[in-house]
Symmetry: C2
Subunit: 255 residues, 2 copies
Amino acid sequence: MIKKITFIGSGNVAHNLGKVLLKNGIEIIQVYSRNIENAKKLAVQLAAAFTDDLRKLNTESDLYIIASSDNAIEKIANQLDLEGKLVVHTSGSVSIKVLTNATQNCGSFYPLQTFTKSHQADFTLIPICIEASSLESFQILKELANNLSTKVVNMTSEQRQKLHLAAVFVSNFSNYMQVIGYELCEEQQVDFNLLKPLIKEVFEKNQQHNAIDNQTGPALRGDTFTMNKHLDLLENNKELSELYQLISNMIGKSK
Amino acid sequence: MIKKITFIGSGNVAHNLGKVLLKNGIEIIQVYSRNIENAKKLAVQLAAAFTDDLRKLNTESDLYIIASSDNAIEKIANQLDLEGKLVVHTSGSVSIKVLTNATQNCGSFYPLQTFTKSHQADFTLIPICIEASSLESFQILKELANNLSTKVVNMTSEQRQKLHLAAVFVSNFSNYMQVIGYELCEEQQVDFNLLKPLIKEVFEKNQQHNAIDNQTGPALRGDTFTMNKHLDLLENNKELSELYQLISNMIGKSK
């Protein structure tokens, strides 16, 4: 059972995960960040020690959580010597293999949500995707995750990476479609709020049905009349015009 | 004041709009469709007469609503001789100019929502965008729309067309991002439902804040490490890979 945890990294995930673990009776004993001020800021909130030197990491933790940016994980792991200790990362896109230079006892603890420091997330409904190098460590991580969330799932690195990519489409890219909509409205001084009931309707339909069954619009209908009108409106914006055609083609073929 | 209406067209918009008008005490006296069975089906529900012959259109209506597909509106208008009568279309993408062959007294009555025949929409919160060739007709349409919706707005054809294009991005294209996410999950037998809390979070943030302020993800961070991993995962799908790069580039420049 995990009682003591060290956080390596002090960003959005470390903030949210650290606080919810503390609330659940886990002791956070140390926070590392290469920026000592960031380490301190989070450490104060978690009643933990802090350091900016990986060589000064404690050896008493039951679990070391690398919650750094994805591209730093492997570099950090290569500097760690925690053989026998359990080390996980919180990344969607990184394989657990990169941790094996730090320890053979490794895994992933990936909470699937978008986090910000200013807003503490409610973990109860956030899926936590678990992977570990051994069944024993898997059970330990699962027990920890079950304290936080009702939705804990076993996942391979390959599955987690595809899920992470899917998340980019359904959240980041979908959000960007709203950004484009906002900018188009601005061009004609139209109130973007007029679109909110429509956006709500699409969201609610997708909570109930498969998105493919909810697909509508000129591209699905093969309505070239309307699509050509839209492309006329976009003629001064090469990128947006290209995007419109690309997505419309894909929707057209999806029928 | 409008008491009697004729519908030209019997699709999703005609179904939803016809029923809510009837419910609000308006008489629907006739339904036209080039397919007589479709005309009859809707007419029965609206207690109206029906025809598949534009030459047999009644002349007693206070308002003629062309709720056909966008590319048929002009063709239909050219066959009508309703000078002096008020004729509107319900299209987001078509200018009211195309109606002038039918009558100089024309306009647009555009309910901004996605409709299906099987589900009667609640019009109360649906924006209705109004345009008319004269102030008098505008007031008449506005009075009618106010009976149905709390959100009636005055809009030029240019504004309405941009709004319609924006609607394609925020609803059709955003929905398609969910379709892609679903397919990516399927490839690795991952449960798409795991993404629903994330999708909900993005939706809720966008109801409160501008989407541009909610943009997150590797493209916004300029995280080429993660983007390259994602492109590796998409290497067998040329279109999806192209889409990923195009949207990521646009997000990268939006900072």
